[in-house]
C-alpha cells in the first residue's frame, strides 16, 4: 500500500512537469502541442549526450537541456506558429503544423542520437525504506527536483511581471493586447518555457529509466490525458491531472491485471468527459 | 389571445437564484419587453424561454402546450425563435446563404430527396432563395446579400441576425438586447425594424437594457430585479412605479424613459 503511494507520487511529479508545459503552451497560444513528447525526448537525449558522451556533470546537462529545448520551442513559435496562425483560415490548421514539428524533431533525434535506448549512470545510489515501501535515492532526487521546478514555475507565473503577462494573455487575449503587453514576445517566451519544461522533464527521467527517440508520441498522449482530466489551459488543473493519472497508473498496475489498466484509464476518461467536458478545473464552455 | 405563458419560472446556479418565480404572459401580436438592471437575470430568463437552459422550477407554455424541457431546435419548430446579442451569424457564408440555410424548418423534401436533389428539394431551394431575398430586402440588407458575413460592416450584423431568425418563420420572436450599443440614429432604425416585424404577424418578446427604445415600442413591459418580477404593465405605468424607480436608483448611467 505504501509502495503505491510512493509510486504514484513519483509518477505524478514527473507527469506534472509535462502537463504544466503543455498547458502553458495551450493556454497562451491555443495550440495543442503534438510535439511535446518529442521535446521531452530531446531533453532526455541532450542530457545523455552531455553526461555520457561529453563527460560533463549532470547539473550542466540539465541546464543544457532546458536552454536548447527552450530555444527550439521559441524558434518554432516565432518562425512557424506565428506565421501559420496569421495566414490560415482555421484555427485547427496549427494542429497539422504541430504534428509536422513532432515528426521533424523525432526524425532529427533519430539521425543525431541513434535508435537506441539511452540512459545515464545513476547520480546517487542507495534505497530508502519508508514503512514497507522502497524509495531509491535516484528517484527521491528526481522527485525533489521536480517539486522544486514546479514551485519555481508557479512562483514565476504568479509573481513576476512576465509571468503575470502570460497568464493575462491566456485569460483574455484582446484585453491584454489593449493593455499594451507585447503579445508576440510573451507568446514566444511562453512557448519556450513550455518546451523547456518538457525538456527538463525528459532530462530528469533519463536518470531513472531511460529515453529513446521514439518515445515522444506516447508522452504526448499522456500529456493530453492529463490536461483533459484537469481542464485545458488551467495551470492548477494540469497539476491535478498529473496527480490523477500518476495515481491511477500506480493503483491500476498494483491492483488489476496490467493489460487492462490503460484500457480502464481511457474508458474512465471518456466517461468522465461526458459528465464534465471541461475537466475538473476547467471553465465551463459558454 | 395568449401565445406564451411563463409560470413560476425559477433557475438556480448552485446557491444563487438567477431567476426567481417569474410569471407573465405574452399575447399574440404584441411587443412585450423584459427590462431590468444589469445582472437582474434577464439573460437567464431569455435562455429559459428559448430552452437553451432547463428551468429549476416552473414551466413555459406556448399555445397552451408545455415547451420547457424541449431542445432549442424543437422549440424553434413550435415557433419560438431567438436572436443572439452582438454578431452571432454564420461568418463564413454570404448574407444570402445565411438566410437561405436558416429556412431549414421549411424543408419539405425527405433527407434522401435532399441528398439526391429531388424535384421537391430543388423547389425548396428556389422557394428559400426567393424568401431569403425578400427578408433581406425587407430589413434593408438587399444590397449586401452577396457579401460574406465576416466582411459586413458591424451595423449590419444585428439586422442579419434578425433576418436569420425570421427565416425560421417564428410565431414568437425573442430578441436579445436588439438596441445595445446603438447611437440614437441607429436605435431609430432598429425600432422601426422591430415594428416592421410585428407588422409581418410576428409577436415579439424582447429583453433590453436601453430604456428609451423600449418605452417607445413596447405594448407592455415586465421589469425584473434580482431575478424577481417587480412590475408589469404599460410603459407609462411602469415608468411611474416606485419599485422600478427604486431598482434603477443610484445608477447614474440609467435614465428611465423621457
Amino acid at each position: 500500500m505504501e509502495q503505491i503511494l510512493v509510486n504514484g507520487t513519483i509518477l505524478a511529479a514527473n507527469y506534472a512537469l509535462i502537463a504544466l508545459g503543455i498547458t502553458l503552451i495551450f493556454s497562451i497560444m491555443n495550440v495543442l502541442n503534438f510535439a511535446h513528447g518529442q521535446m521531452f525526448m530531446l531533453g532526455g537525449l541532450i542530457v545523455y549526450y552531455v553526461c555520457v558522451v561529453l563527460h560533463l556533470p549532470y547539473a550542466l546537462a540539465l541546464i543544457a537541456a532546458v536552454v536548447i529545448v527552450g530555444l527550439i520551442g521559441m524558434l518554432f513559435e516565432d518562425v512557424f506558429f506565428q506565421r501559420v496562425m496569421r495566414i490560415s483560415n482555421r484555427e485547427e490548421n496549427t494542429m497539422l503544423l504541430a504534428v509536422g514539428t513532432s515528426l521533424l524533431l523525432e526524425n532529427a533525434a533519430l539521425s543525431l542520437f541513434g535508435e537506441k535506448q539511452r540512459a545515464i549512470p545513476p547520480i546517487v545510489s542507495g534505497v530508502y525504506r519508508i514503512g514497507n515501501a522502497f524509495l531509491p535515492a535516484s528517484r527521491a532526487l528526481v522527485l525533489v527536483l521536480s517539486l522544486v521546478l514546479i514551485a519555481a514555475v508557479l512562483v514565476f507565473v504568479n509573481y513576476t511581471k512576465t509571468g503575470r503577462a502570460m497568464r493575462a494573455l491566456a485569460q483574455d487575449r484582446t484585453a491584454t493586447l489593449l493593455m499594451g503587453v507585447d503579445a508576440k514576445r510573451i507568446s514566444t517566451l511562453g512557448f519556450g518555457l513550455g518546451a523547456a519544461l518538457a525538456g527538463v522533464a525528459g532530462g530528469l527521467l533519463i536518470s531513472i529509466s531511460g529515453v529513446n527517440a521514439g518515445i515522444g508520441t506516447a508522452i504526448s498522449t499522456k500529456a493530453f490525458i492529463m490536461i483533459m482530466i484537469g481542464g485545458a489551459g488551467v495551470i492548477s488543473g494540469s497539476l491535478l491531472g498529473a496527480v490523477v493519472l500518476g495515481f491511477a497508473e500506480a493503483i491500476g498496475y498494483a491492483l488489476i491485471p496490467g493489460s487492462v489498466t490503460y484500457l480502464l484509464i481511457f474508458v474512465a476518461l471518456i466517461v468522465f468527459l461526458l459528465f464534465r467536458p471541461q475537466g475538473i478545473m476547467g471553465k465551463p464552455a459558454a | 389571445m395568449t401565445l406564451l405563458s411563463v409560470e413560476g419560472l425559477t433557475r438556480r446556479f448552485g446557491g444563487l437564484v438567477a431567476v426567481n418565480d417569474v410569471s407573465f404572459t405574452v399575447s399574440e401580436g404584441e411587443i412585450l419587453s423584459v427590462i431590468g438592471p444589469n445582472g437582474a437575470g434577464k439573460s437567464t430568463l431569455f435562455k429559459l424561454i428559448g430552452s437553451f437552459l432547463p428551468p429549476s422550477a416552473g414551466r413555459v407554455l406556448f399555445e397552451g402546450a408545455v415547451v420547457s424541457g424541449l431542445k432549442p431546435n424543437q422549440v424553434a419548430r413550435k415557433g419560438i425563435v431567438r436572436t443572439f446579442q452582438e454578431t452571432t451569424v454564420f461568418k463564413e457564408m454570404t448574407a444570402l446563404q445565411n438566410v437561405v440555410v436558416a429556412h431549414q424548418l421549411g424543408v419539405t423534401a425527405s433527407p434522401l430527396g435532399t441528398f439526391f436533389s429531388s424535384a421537391a428539394a430543388r423547389a425548396d431551394e428556389r422557394r428559400f432563395r426567393d424568401s431569403a431575398a425578400e427578408i433581406l430586402d425587407y430589413l434593408g440588407l438587399g444590397h449586401v446579400k452577396d457579401v460574406e458575413a465576416r466582411n459586413l460592416p458591424h451595423g449590419y450584423l444585428r439586422a442579419l441576425g434578425i433576418a436569420i431568425a425570421l427565416a425560421a418563420r417564428p410565431r414568437l420572436l425573442l430578441l436579445d438586447e436588439p438596441f445595445a450599443g446603438m447611437n440614437p440614429e441607429e436605435t431609430d432604425r432598429a425600432v422601426a425594424m422591430v415594428e416592421g416585424i410585428r407588422k409581418r404577424g410576428v409577436t415579439v418578446l424582447l429583453v433590453e437594457h436601453d430604456m428609451r427604445a423600449v418605452m417607445r415600442i413596447s405594448d407592455r413591459i415586465v421589469v425584473i430585479s434580482f431575478g424577481s418580477k417587480i412590475a408589469e404593465g404599460s410603459p407609462e405605468a411602469v415608468r411611474a412605479d416606485p419599485a422600478v424607480v427604486e431598482a434603477y436608483l443610484g445608477k447614474d448611467d440609467e435614465t428611465i424613459g423621457h
Partner: protein
C-alpha cells in the same frame, strides 16, 4: 476553366444543371483514377499497390473530412478502421462470409458503434473532442488486444476477395470505392445537408436556434465517417490478409486527420489530394533512406507555412493571379 476548377474544388456553381454538375465533378477524378493511373502503372504492382493504399486511405479520410465539416477534429478514424477490419476478419474466417458481404457488414457495425459512441461524445468541442477521439483509438486497440477469445488479438489467413486476384483488379476496386465515396461526400457537402453542416461548424447555438437538430446531424455525419473508416479497415484486412490490434494506432488516426488538413479543409477533394500527396511523397522519399522520415516532416511544415489552408488552396490563388490577366 474557372467553372471546372470550381467543380474540382467541390464547389460547383449552383446555376448548372444537376447531371452536368455531377459529371463535371466526377470526370476529372475518374479520368485520373481510371485513366492516368492504370496507364502509368498497369505493369507495376508496386505502384499499383501504393495507389490502392492511397485510394482506400483517401476513402477513410473523406469520412474524417465530413466530421471536419461539422466542426469536429476527429482522431478516431483508426479505431473504426480497426473495428471494420475485425468485422471482416471474423466474418470471413469464422463463417466464411464473402468479402462482398463483409464490407457492408463492416460499414454497418462501424456506423452503429460510431453512432452509439458519437451520440454522447459529440457534445464535446474543440481540443476536447480531438483528445477524446484520440483516446478512443487507444481504447479500441487495447480492447481488441484484451478481448477474450482472440488470444493476443491477431487474426490471420483472411481470404483474399473473390475476383480481386491481381493488383490491378484490387486497385480498380479501390478506385471505384473512392469514386463512390467522393460522390457521396460531394453530394452531402453541396446539398442542403452540407450547408446545414457548415452552419453547425460556424455556430452551433445559432444553428439550434433556427430549428436545426444539431445533435442528430452530428451523429449522422460521425456515423457516416465511421462507416467509411470501417470499410477501409475491411479492405486493408483483406488486402493484407491479417488484422492485429496494432494494425491501426494513434498515428494512423492522426494521419487521416493530416491528410484532410494537407489537402485543404474547404474542399471535398482535399482529403484525396492530401492522402495521395503524402502517400506518394513518402514513397518517392524512400530513396533517400534514413532521411526519408525527416524530409517527410519538413515537407509537411513547408506546406503548412506556405499553404496553410491546404494544397488545393493553391488553385484559387493561381486562378486569381493568372485567370484575371487572361480574361
Amino acid at each position: 476553366m474557372a467553372a471546372s476548377l470550381d467543380a474540382i474544388a467541390g464547389r460547383a456553381p449552383e446555376r448548372m444543371g444537376g447531371v452536368s454538375r455531377v459529371l463535371l465533378t466526377l470526370l476529372p477524378l475518374a479520368a485520373v483514377l481510371y485513366g492516368l493511373i492504370p496507364v502509368l502503372f498497369a505493369g507495376q504492382p508496386y505502384w499499383l499497390n501504393v495507389m490502392t493504399n492511397g485510394a482506400v486511405l483517401s476513402f477513410a479520410s473523406l469520412g474524417v473530412w465530413l466530421t471536419f465539416a461539422i466542426g469536429r477534429v476527429n482522431i478516431a478514424q483508426g479505431a473504426f478502421a480497426l473495428l471494420g477490419g475485425y468485422v471482416t476478419a471474423l466474418l470471413s474466417t469464422l463463417y466464411g462470409v464473402s468479402f462482398w458481404l463483409c464490407l457492408p457488414a463492416s460499414a454497418l457495425v462501424a456506423a452503429l458503434v460510431g453512432a452509439a459512441i458519437g451520440w454522447p461524445l459529440l457534445r464535446l468541442r474543440g481540443i476536447y473532442f480531438a483528445m477524446v477521439t484520440l483516446s478512443l483509438t487507444e481504447a479500441m486497440r487495447l480492447a481488441f488486444l484484451n478481448a477474450p477469445g482472440l488470444g493476443g488479438g491477431g487474426i490471420l489467413n483472411i481470404p483474399r476477395p473473390a475476383g480481386l486476384d491481381t493488383p490491378l483488379a484490387f486497385y480498380l476496386f479501390a478506385a471505384t470505392l473512392l469514386l463512390a465515396g467522393y460522390l457521396l461526400v460531394w453530394r452531402l457537402a453541396t446539398s442542403r445537408i452540407g450547408w446545414v453542416f457548415r452552419s453547425m461548424r460556424q455556430n452551433e447555438e445559432l444553428a439550434l436556434s433556427i430549428g436545426i437538430d444539431v445533435a442528430r446531424y452530428r451523429v449522422v455525419a460521425f456515423a457516416i465517417c465511421s462507416a467509411m473508416g470501417g470499410v477501409a479497415g475491411g479492405c486493408f484486412a483483406s488486402l493484407q490478409q491479417n488484422i492485429y490490434p496494432a494494425s491501426y494506432t494513434v498515428s494512423d488516426s492522426i494521419n487521416f486527420m493530416l491528410y484532410c488538413f494537407l489537402g485543404g479543409l474547404d474542399f471535398v477533394l482535399g482529403p484525396i489530394v492530401g492522402t495521395f500527396g503524402l502517400v506518394i511523397a513518402f514513397e518517392l522519399l524512400r530513396s533517400i533512406q534514413e532521411y526519408q522520415a525527416l524530409l517527410y516532416g519538413i515537407l509537411m511544415i513547408v506546406v503548412m507555412l506556405f499553404l496553410p489552408n491546404g494544397v488545393i488552396s493553391l488553385f484559387p490563388l493561381l486562378v486569381r493571379r493568372f485567370g484575371r490577366g487572361a480574361s
